[in-house]
Amino acid sequence: MMNPKTQNKVAIGSLYGIAGLVVLILMALLGYILVSGVPQLSWHFLTAPAKAFLEGGGVGVQLYNSFYLLILAMLISFPIALGAAIYLYEYAKDNWVTTTIRTAIEILSSLPSVVVGLFGFLFFVVRLNLGFSILSGAFALTFFNLPLLTRSIEDSLRTIDTTQREGGLALGLSRWETITRVILPAAVPSILTGVILSAGRVFGEAAALIYTAGQSAPALDFTDWNPFNISSPLNPMRPAETLAVHIWKINSEGIMPDAKAISSGSSAVLVLAILLFNFAARYLGKRLYKRLTSA
């Protein structure tokens, strides 16, 4: 029998140990990716188009595609997720309908992304005849993103105390006014954090895109912004390999001589971008909160 004090010490000790181990693994992983990848980075690498057989290709198009897909996917999924979360948390009564919706969201959020990708392939690419395209990819990413984003926004709403809602209602505000004028502004930092974190997930997603946005990255003409032209960066109907898909592809079938270096460099870019998202999330969240709460 240990006395409570020793017990406590042992517990704290092992928790510290576990936490330390987790941090160590993460650092090692991150360190490995950065150390092997960062030396490959150059302006040329970040902007040049990829080469299939020769050395010296870049990831410019893939990087651009990743951002473009991300923005499109977010533009589609954020309003839907916001609406769903507001409905579920602020309006819906607790009954079998909402329980069903919640269960569905739960299941969707644990769906392997490759399944989402195959669904996207069968439905958007084949059935709706959108082909391997940015649009197919963005829809697939929406499916992939929606459940988690909805849940994260709902959690953000949950962190706002009910007394805030009552305060709004007691002033004669309607429920909608209370939600839009009191609750959402107060929840913005936490919603934003959720959005940016999910953006990180979307940015790094490969499996859902392989069969939807495709595995080729036609060269883009960055002077042509007419979305109807095939080489225009804005064209949503062109196939668009993203950075994450690029990494997967090089590693499975890359035949350029510097495949290893490109893969390392791309991984570093991916990781750095996601780190950037996270820091941006914090910074923007704080800034926005300040602006919304005192002005």
């Binding site: 105390d161 209602l169 005192s294």
Partner: protein
């Protein structure tokens, strides 16, 4: 004289408890008739027929779970969607418990301050101004003026006049509660409902809050739930004693304290309860 003369059995029971404010200077502004409140099947208010005098402070006292909050929250329909409220709530001759009443408009006439201070995550200024803006008051001067008078009435102006743009979340508990009062009176209500507004405050803030309420009753009719007998004694003209979902006794505060008609009331106000 009584609200339900026709129901003789009830009248006999209520005779003791219900007073019509005798003072013609303070006519009835709000009254409840045959009010019942149910949470699902559970009846939380079984008997709560009261008349409230204008420009006076009425205290609702009683043991925990006796239904004071339930009653109070029914008065401005804050229990909509939470509980079923039957009976009439007469405000200036209108039954505001009707489904077709504009609840939002009504709540601007019957304001409410809660137990825990709940300032919005906005600036001090906006806490007061934003509800007004939503109702179409956009003139900066007018807004400034309303913010200033409300804060003055809530006795907060001197402490915050130089930092109106600061977040209200940085205020102390007592200050935050005053801000909530300022916010409530900025929309110019007739009646202020307060549910244990001082229970989260220290003694100094509490006494300041009481002074504020005494000031405010010049302009507003105040109904306040309190657990603090001394507080009820210090500030209220009338006191209603709740027990198990019924109003057992309703009289002038001095009567309730010095000459209660019901044994439970007597036990409660003297602190011998339970």
């Amino acid at each position: 004289m009584f609200l339900n003369n026709d129901v003789t059995a009830k009248t006999a029971m209520l005779e003791r408890h219900i007073v019509q404010p005798a003072d013609p200077e303070h006519p009835t502004i709000l009254s409840t008739e045959d009010l019942h409140v149910y949470y699902g099947k559970k009846e939380a208010i079984a008997e709560g027929d009261l008349r409230f005098a204008s420009n006076q402070i009425t205290a609702l006292i009683g043991p925990s779970g006796s239904g004071k909050s339930t009653f109070l929250r029914s008065l401005n329909r804050m229990n909509d969607r939470i509980a079923t409220v039957t009976g009439k709530i007469m405000y200036r001759g209108i039954d505001i418990n009707q489904p077709d009443i504009d609840v939002y408009e009504m709540r601007r006439r019957v304001g409410m301050v809660f137990q825990r201070p709940n300032p919005f995550a906005k600036s001090i200024y906006d806490n007061i101004a934003f509800a007004l803006r939503l109702r179409g008051v956009t003139d900066k001067h007018e807004l400034d003026e309303i913010v200033e008078t409300s804060l003055k009435q809530a006795a907060l102006w001197n402490q915050v006049k130089d930092e109106l743009n600061k977040s209200a979340l940085a205020l102390s508990g007592g200050q935050a509660q005053r801000l909530c009062i300022a916010r409530a009176i900025a929309v110019k209500p007739d009646i202020l409902l307060l549910d244990e507004p001082a229970s989260a405050l220290d003694p100094v803030s509490t006494s300041q809050l009481e002074d504020t309420l005494l000031e405010l009753k010049q302009q507003y009719s105040i109904i306040i739930v309190t657990h603090n007998m001394q507080q009820a004694g210090r500030i209220s003209e009338y006191t209603a004693f709740f027990n198990q979902g019924r109003v057992l006794e309703y009289d002038t505060t001095s009567h309730i304290f010095t000459n209660p008609q019901v044994q439970i009331t007597s036990d409660y106000v003297s602190g011998n309860f339970g």
